[in-house]
Symmetry: C2
Subunit: 685 residues, 2 copies
Amino acid sequence: MEEDQSPGLGLAGETPGLKHGNGVGDSPEDPAGSAGDGISSLEKPLLKRSNTLTSSHLAMVGAKVSHIESLDYEIIENDLFKHDWRSRSNVEVLQYIFLKWSLAFLVGLLTGVIASLINLAIENISGLKMLHMVHLVREKRYWAGFFYFSGFNFVLTFIAAVLCVVFAPTAAGPGIPEIKAYLNGVDTPNMFGAPQLIVKIIGSICAVSSGLDLGKEGPLVHIGACLANLLSQGGSGRFRLRWRWLRYFNNDRDRRDLITCGASSGVCAAFRSPVGGVLFALEEVATWWRSALLWRTFFSTATVVVVLRGFIEVCRGGRCGLFGEGGLIIFDVSDVTVRYRLGDLLLVTLVGVIGGVLGALYNHVLHMVLRLYNLINDKGRMAKLALALAVCVFTSAGLYVLPFAVPCTPCDPAFGAACPATGRSGNFKQFNCPAGQYNDLATLLHATNVDATRNIFSTGTPGEFRLDSLLIFFAIYEIILDLKGLPFLEPKPEPWMKDLTVGELAAAKPRTISLQVVEKVSTVLEVLRNTGHNGFPVVDRPRPGLSELHGLVLRSHLVAVLRKRWFLLEKRRTEEWEARERFSSVELADKNCKIDGLELTPEELEMYIDLHPFTNTTPYTVVETMSVAKAVVLFRSVALRHMLIMPKYQGPEISPLVGILTRQDLRAHNILGAFPHLAKKSKTH
Amino acid sequence: MEEDQSPGLGLAGETPGLKHGNGVGDSPEDPAGSAGDGISSLEKPLLKRSNTLTSSHLAMVGAKVSHIESLDYEIIENDLFKHDWRSRSNVEVLQYIFLKWSLAFLVGLLTGVIASLINLAIENISGLKMLHMVHLVREKRYWAGFFYFSGFNFVLTFIAAVLCVVFAPTAAGPGIPEIKAYLNGVDTPNMFGAPQLIVKIIGSICAVSSGLDLGKEGPLVHIGACLANLLSQGGSGRFRLRWRWLRYFNNDRDRRDLITCGASSGVCAAFRSPVGGVLFALEEVATWWRSALLWRTFFSTATVVVVLRGFIEVCRGGRCGLFGEGGLIIFDVSDVTVRYRLGDLLLVTLVGVIGGVLGALYNHVLHMVLRLYNLINDKGRMAKLALALAVCVFTSAGLYVLPFAVPCTPCDPAFGAACPATGRSGNFKQFNCPAGQYNDLATLLHATNVDATRNIFSTGTPGEFRLDSLLIFFAIYEIILDLKGLPFLEPKPEPWMKDLTVGELAAAKPRTISLQVVEKVSTVLEVLRNTGHNGFPVVDRPRPGLSELHGLVLRSHLVAVLRKRWFLLEKRRTEEWEARERFSSVELADKNCKIDGLELTPEELEMYIDLHPFTNTTPYTVVETMSVAKAVVLFRSVALRHMLIMPKYQGPEISPLVGILTRQDLRAHNILGAFPHLAKKSKTH
């Protein structure tokens, strides 16, 4: 091995296309161009390429523009991992399994309890508000009623908005797009922490109680995911539990599994459907779903249902304030068995079609509203706050004034003299009408989210599956995902992806930066400073004419080595115990990638780092001639973060690596930016 | 390229470990052994190996020992496929999508109709039988009753048994293990054809009507799968529809998708649970599940539910003989809303635990009974028939005689003088008891599968999900799958698989046989005659020192080339149009691999075949250092049939291929046969 290789300068006999240094400013070369004229015609790309495959690492997380990264779901099979694995005893394996199921149970339990408490709070707060408002209206003190109603809503909205804007901007919005993206493999920072959990709980209570037109479904799913994340980490920040067992969960893979349980529990709590919760999880993480996860998710959602039922029994006796049998809402409506005939299905289908058309329209309007909101959000915190309060005042005025515009309806004589509306029981709202009549619009508008609450608190069969609501709930979010710029990998590759090879795609990227298996400290530092990549291919040339793609090393591991100053005086391969002595698996699981404060002496910069113990020697590889369509399926099926491209031909002058592809490179939108003619082809095909 | 390469003899400079010919009798060599002493120590395997990785290609399909093969779910990206793909117009793509959904609908429709008809037939046949038997008993003609009852059952069993034994041995048994194996990627021959469908329909009607202790669930799932398979092929054998559109479905991938819909429809028909059907599919094909399939499966199962409901409405008026409102069974029991309190859950949990213990016991007994049956099955057809009839006589005697042993129970006075049992309505069986009393055992035993029928014909919410019955139905079949020798790939790799690399595994196999990209006809013929492999790696050496793993060619494609005698006089690469002119995509989708009658002249044997147009140039590859655990996950996730192992080091003297692994090689049982110390290690760990 050459001792004096300088960065950015390939030596004679060096593998082409694989040079050290940051590569910025190098002119792009055909990676296999020097492999000889004999084969160059076979390798000539079918498509003209423009060297502009770029990607953005910014996306809207909640209401905050954040730097996003991919998650590592792949097992990093390096020496240290292998040793850690071999040294695990059977007892430790059992501990791990026990912990997995216990955490799944805890996630279900806590989601159920919090969902129940949120409902209780909402029903009591908005119930109190309604009772007093109706009282004022019946005394014909209309203006007092209006100011009381609007003021109450204003205060609630103010609390919710301030919490979101000041403490946790990522908690704004439904949270579902971010959860979908996370389960798809995109790390969304500051999304599932303790501040988000607390803000989401208080915020959703205040916002729903204030009469804003939003449901508890989204927040509940987000709350479940937050709970799961916090449990997997043993808590948040300073209050983190430093329990030894939890080290098993210090990886993206197990954390994602638990967050899947959490999100499903949230869906289950929102729709009171354990199967629905599992189906949500399935739909979202379908491509790398495992049967084991199915049963664990079911365990979580079943726990949620048991907890919800427990709360119903407690509240049945009227021990929950305005909520319960004698409360403002009538639950158990689903006790009535719905009978339907075959002919009804036609009607239902018609309603479905109309719903679909309206849904498309809604999507269109949503799109525009979101763009408008985005403009306002750009103006800063105060603008956001003002927007929320403006919407609140507008909604309050509408809710209060509109019922005055409709005529009163006489009560059904079957009920006797008066509708069962006065006071606490019954849900016919008399509002401004004389006795014996009711205001139907007030009945509709002044209900305290009966529908959502009935969903969560009725006692029909717990296995019931509300396909319609679930569909509407999850379909109307795809749009937001795209608008937010979250790099979601679609399950199905685009048809035109069959016409492009991964080799062509890799060639459209800036040069791949790779490291030697025993590398100079200065080179490593330079590479880390000049690029933001999270994985670097490691190549080796044990002797002239013999080359090897040794594997892939993670940025976080390089940073760990630099911080510990684990440097070698001469260029040599270390023994296995040397690295094991200095690096624990817990340390290496840490994802801290900051090297800002790092100062190295000129002597240290001349030393070497042995990457053998840290390199994942079995990254997933594909041949450069594979179509992008096939590669995307592999990428998503095995949940990859990096995919290495190998050359088709192997020979002494050919580099063992063509390039590296990541999630961003495989997104249809980014590819079309570099190969615009593919888009045309797909349209005029 | 050398012109005179003789089979079985590697030339100087030939890639080691990759010789032509069948390889039988060659002594195994370290595939990279000749790569130089400089690296041999790095490559030395960690584990001692014994060269005995063997696998069986025989398994029990139904009651017949059959030769099994793996399915090709991978897209074979060869030149011909690529051209076929590029030449598809948008209209054809739309046709394909339309057809996919139409077939999913048809599968649901037909499954629903057949399930309804089976139920109708069973209820009427066994109803008639019961009515007359009860009549004889009440006239105290006990012996006549016994012979009538046993004789009736005997005839029914005889029909079912003869059908199974003579016409379709693969239709014997529940069929679920074979469906599980098929969806896992194992082709089970003669399993989903027209004879199986017909035998299964008539057989299950006869067997269930004869009072044998078996359900309609298994048969219904099998029937759904048969229907799907037949629809995807446009019919069976001579009666096959040669519709142009159906060519899109002439591949394992689309056929599997449709069979998934069919099996789910069957589950839905058996348990009246569309969600249950989808969950079954999910659990079985989970690893390569796609969201698109979720909705298509749902569409099928929803269709089934609509059809079942239609039949209920028709039968409600009593137009279905003994079946319906005035019939022998009371349906709509689920109209009663089941209310339960939290405390009941403890009791249910207890019942679940007891059920689990009993289930384990049941599995044990089942294991023994199956082994006994297997012994009898080995004796030939007559023994099988005798077994079925003996079980029938034994069951009939038990069903008839046992009720006489219990005392009579007086009817509840609330019902009036007599229990609502006589004639057609009500289900209290008076049997041998005096008026005003009933025989409770007869009430239980002489019901016509009320439970199963209620499942299928009650009108509660169609989304209801019977988790318990589904669980019992599917869990406890795993055993049978194993006993039958079906090579099912478990979703989770064994822990000890992390300690073995794919390179070591490949080295324990007989030498890999590979072909040159332009190969002699005689060599191809010899390879096909001497091996049973279904895929052969294709290597190329465009010039000395430069080697290439060109890809993988399927046995069926080689056979197609030989049959068409598409030979070249000299060793050259053909133009793309030459192959396209001779081979249509429909022909290449044919899986006929027989070369028995093929006679080639000595001149033809000296000619060449160009494999370029047929080679899948992008097979999935892994590096030899990858652990078997990681490779198994990839294999199952992407649904592979062949996985190629690449060398770690690349150089002029190193072969571009280490070996090839298939489903059988990755089964824990087979690996342990070759590496027995791994089993010890996993136990004493």
